[in-house]
């Protein structure tokens, strides 16, 4: 009988031994959007032992164009992405243990992942990336930055203490703007970044360290541009994350920003000051007389109030779609959920 991973084992840099390693490794994927979907599917097919996926969102029609793990049924069921991803990944490869976490990534949430072998960055914001960077460097876990917008993609593999970390790189950058992307995205851009990320991931999982790329890579596949820069000289001895006297600023000064405007989404997220798991079914009974189009599953509750669409998650978070105005969103939140 031909083994499930025979083609990958025939590839000599992996081989049978490499495959055995892959099957014993644990990968954390942060974000289950476009990059998260692509990374998760390839890694599950490759036979990674355990995959943990963290995501705070649910599947929407606008995701289906590029987020390859999801289908129309997931949208109709209003499934959280992490849950829908787990379902699909288990259908693809039941040998892989998949864990789903429907939540924001926080320092306390991260502490459960100190022993993972690799972290894949598939988030859509720098707040989470800096947190990831601190955590990964502190626990000496390799992580792979990936991001894309339009037809432009960028990726960089960070080996803590050996290469400059995200904090080192950002020190040389004029910070400001540019973190909120509203220019759309085409699926091939995602696939290309995913290809870079998963190739680097496989090298790390089989411990072929010499094969790792040493450069920051970016491309624009519509404008036919490609660029790579060796950034090793940007490693800073004074870096607060990977320097001689680290303070891990993003881990230690992390404030649960209770209210967050979700960039480019016309949405505000409000998180209760104290984490508390809630029973969304209870809220369904309470809210039903006051709202329209109410729908509930074990993970979240959806409803419509005037021009706003509200989503209440079982971890207590509420998404208010239809506004970017924090005061307006808080007003609705306090009226129905406080």
């Amino acid at each position: 009988m031909t083994s499930r991973y025979s083609r990958q084992e025939l590839f000599s840099p992996i081989g049978y031994e490499g495959q055995q390693k892959i099957c014993q490794k644990h990968v954390l994927i942060v974000g289950a959007g476009a990059l998260g979907s692509g990374n998760a599917e390839m890694l599950a097919r490759a036979g990674v032992g355990k995959i943990s996926i963290v995501d705070r969102d649910y599947v929407d029609w606008s995701n289906l164009q590029r987020q390859q793990l999801y289908c129309e049924e997931d949208v109709r069921e209003h499934l959280p992405k992490a849950v829908a991803a787990k379902r699909r990944l288990e259908a693809i490869n039941q040998e892989v243990k998949v864990e789903a976490f429907v939540q924001d990534l926080t320092p306390s949430g991260l502490s459960a992942f100190q022993h993972v072998d690799l972290i894949i960055d598939a988030t859509d914001n720098f707040e989470t990336r800096f947190l990831l960077n601190d955590f990964a460097v502190k626990h000496n876990i390799p992580w792979i930055y990936g991001a894309c917008v339009g037809s432009y993609g960028i990726t960089y593999t960070i080996l803590p203490h050996q290469k400059p970390c995200l904090n080192c790189l950002m020190k040389t950058l004029p910070l400001g703007g540019a973190t909120c992307d509203t220019s759309g995205i085409i699926a091939p851009t995602v696939a290309q970044v995913v290809s870079y990320q998963v190739t680097e991931a496989l090298k790390i999982l089989v411990e072929d360290w010499d094969a790792l790329r040493n450069e920051l890579v970016s491309f624009d596949s519509w404008k036919n541009e490609f660029s790579k820069i060796n950034v090793n000289l940007l490693k800073q001895d004074t870096c607060q994350t990977c320097g001689a006297n680290p303070t891990y600023p993003y881990l230690s000064n992390y404030s649960l920003s209770k209210v967050a405007v979700l960039c480019g989404r016309n949405t505000v997220q409000i998180r209760p000051a104290k984490y508390q798991a809630i029973d969304v079914k209870q809220y369904e009974k309470y809210l039903a007389p006051h709202v329209q189009n109410i729908h509930c599953n074990p993970y979240l509750l959806h409803c419509q109030i005037d021009q706003y669409k509200l989503v209440l998650f079982a971890d207590g978070r509420v998404l208010i779609h239809g506004t970017n105005d924090v005061a307006e969103a808080k007003n609705i939140y306090y009226r129905y959920f406080a």
């Binding site: 959007g33 917008v149 960028i154 920051l216 541009e225 660029s227 820069i229 940007l234």
Partner: protein, 64 residues
């Protein structure tokens, strides 16, 4: 000027890296710049650019 693998005509008024970034409308973006194979720190952006230079510019984006 050879920028990210493509030859691009840059006006003569562009004399420094900073002016080049402004011309390319990248001054407010998060970028890392390499000039003729040498990676630049932010302090180096006043450095002179020439039409024969090879420039690599990588822009950090957040989407995923």
């Amino acid at each position: 000027m050879f920028i990210n693998g493509t030859t691009i005509e840059i006006p003569e008024t562009v004399g420094t890296i900073q002016e080049l970034l402004i011309y390319l409308k990248l001054q407010d973006k998060m970028v890392i710049v390499e000039q003729n194979g040498v990676i630049l720190q932010k302090e180096d952006y006043s450095q002179v650019v020439k039409s024969t230079d090879t420039i690599e510019i990588v822009t950090f984006v957040g989407g995923g």
